[in-house]
Amino acid sequence: MAAGVAAWLPFARAAAIGWMPVANCPMPLAPTEKNKRQDELIILNVSGRRFQTWRTTLERYPDTLLGSTEKEFFFNEDTKEYFFDRDPEVFRCILNFYRTGKLHYPRYECISAYDEELAFYGILPEIIGDCCYEEYKDRKRENAERLMDDNDSENNQEGSMPSLSFRQTMWRAFENPHTSTLALVFYYVTGFFIAVSVITNVVETVPCGTVPGNKELPCGERYAVAFFCLDTACVMIFTVEYLLRLFAAPSRYRFIRSVMSIIDVVAIMPYYIGLVMTNNEDVSGAFVTLRVFRVFRIFKFSRHSQGLRILGYTLKSCASELGFLLFSLTMAIIIFATVMFYAEKGSSASKFTSIPASFWYTIVTMTTLGSSLGLQKGVMGAPSLLPFNEQMVGDTQHRTGRYLTLSAFPSL
């Protein structure tokens, strides 16, 4: 708008009539324009296509090529026109900018060609109008990303990597097993030992054979030494791997905090704690619990399986929806458990001795698992949980249960 407003200058000056009679002193002279020429048409010849416009139109933007005296360098004396050896299509947009005050970006135009033309004519891209600015920015970003990708792939293909330190090579080997044969070997070896460790955990508990006295013994106790040796070997490998990773990590603090390293530590801790602790009766119970943590070794597979990692990311990104599901289930559990407790309070043979005691029944019923535990005996209990009653486990309930669960993950 600023472009054409200059034409209204006479009107603005004439409006001064308003305050002249009330002014205390006479009006000063209006500034006269030096070198005031009559407005003339100028011809712009862009690669053969002739554009014509008024001189004053171009002079609206004096800090561009066409608006300043810079265009005199392109003046052709013989034909009395300004000749530019540039793209006439883009020039159309540029000239429209002078005429209307708005710079548009044509969609069919290549973004880098357009930028070059703007730079030639001395026009900043920031003044592109709102109508075209989004498109321009998007195209520019895509172009920049594409250039970056090209550069990256070029660097990768070059092969002449800058020499990395031993520590950095080791870290790269750990993170990406395909970089060298040694890394691949290491990858498969650790994978094998994780599998061995998990299988031994499982086989330990299988009963195999009896001893005199007709008592079934699990394999773990029968071949205790063998299993202990296997366990030691696995833990050795895992410890060595963890220490090597810790050594190679570029940021040790960040490495220690990462999920994978916590899993590693939790997987090998029970063994060391078991070594340290004696066969004390009091703590052996706690020790047994600790051995459960050996099952965490299975999570070490997530380094080897990208699918597992993706599952982890998915759960993390749906964390809020999962949290909400948990929260609403908890609310419903509390409500119904309370109702059940008070409904069955009258009956003496009721198994719902307290509200927390009725939690279990409510959970089992709500998740449509159903159980024979704590069938309601009281009169009021039956109708209150009628929709969830196990006798009525049918299609509707299954569908409702699944619908509730699925609706919490709208983004999946």
């Binding site: 407003v5 034409a7 009107f11 004439a14 001064a16 009539i17 308003g18 009679p21 002193c25 209006a30």
Partner: protein, 198 residues
């Protein structure tokens, strides 16, 4: 229902074509070339051929960015819009400018009186003058030297009335106005300066 929709569409695409160039040249005191320049600028800002008050205010605020010129622009618009239809066509624009820039002193003073007389009843009251004065001071903004006080407009109005109101009846008529202005040298000198504006 359909009628109102059509009406709205008609109003949105109103196109006004001005009278022929020769006619305007005869009616106003501009030459053909000056009219061409004026029209090109006018049509650029208002492609539909008429200016409404909003556009008027916007254009004016670009010339006076320091203060708030909307009230003064409102009074100006009413002065330009001689037939009071809410829009200023190119003819109104040209006739107004012709008087202001090329008219006689009498015509200019007449136009100024018309501007001050907000309700167009032939008298300028103190309230009308106060409104105009406040509008002018608003337009100047805060960056004045010397700094203006709160009641400066009121005092200015008092001075004005003392000068203009000959029979002290509280209002200024057109004759009192023209007579007083013609006696004032400053005002006469200022009027001459309008000649070479275009």
């Amino acid at each position: 229902m359909t009628d109102t929709v059509e009406d709205e569409m008609e109003m949105a695409t109103v196109r006004h074509r001005p009278e022929a160039l020769e006619l305007l040249e005869a009616q106003s005191k501009f030459t053909k070339k000056e009219l061409q320049i004026l029209y090109r600028g006018f049509k650029n800002e208002c492609p539909s051929g008429v200016v409404n008050e909003e556009t008027f205010k916007e254009i004016y605020s670009q010339f006076f960015p320091q203060g708030d010129s909307t009230t003064y622009a409102h009074f100006l618009f009413n002065a330009f819009d001689t037939d009071h239809n809410g829009s200023v066509s190119f003819e109104d624009f040209v006739m107004g400018l012709s008087i202001l820039l090329r008219g006689t002193v009498q015509e200019k003073l007449n136009w100024a009186f018309n501007l001050y007389d907000i309700n167009k009843d032939g008298y300028i009251t103190k309230e009308e003058m106060l409104d105009i004065m406040k509008a002018i001071y608003d337009m100047m903004g805060k960056c004045t030297y010397p700094v203006l006080k709160e009641d400066t407009p009121r005092q200015h109005v008092e001075t004005f009335f003392q000068k203009m109101d000959k029979n002290k009846d509280g209002v200024v008529t057109i004759d009192e106005f023209i007579e007083s202005c013609q006696k004032d040298e400053n005002i006469m000198r200022s009027m001459q300066l309008f000649e070479n504006v275009i």
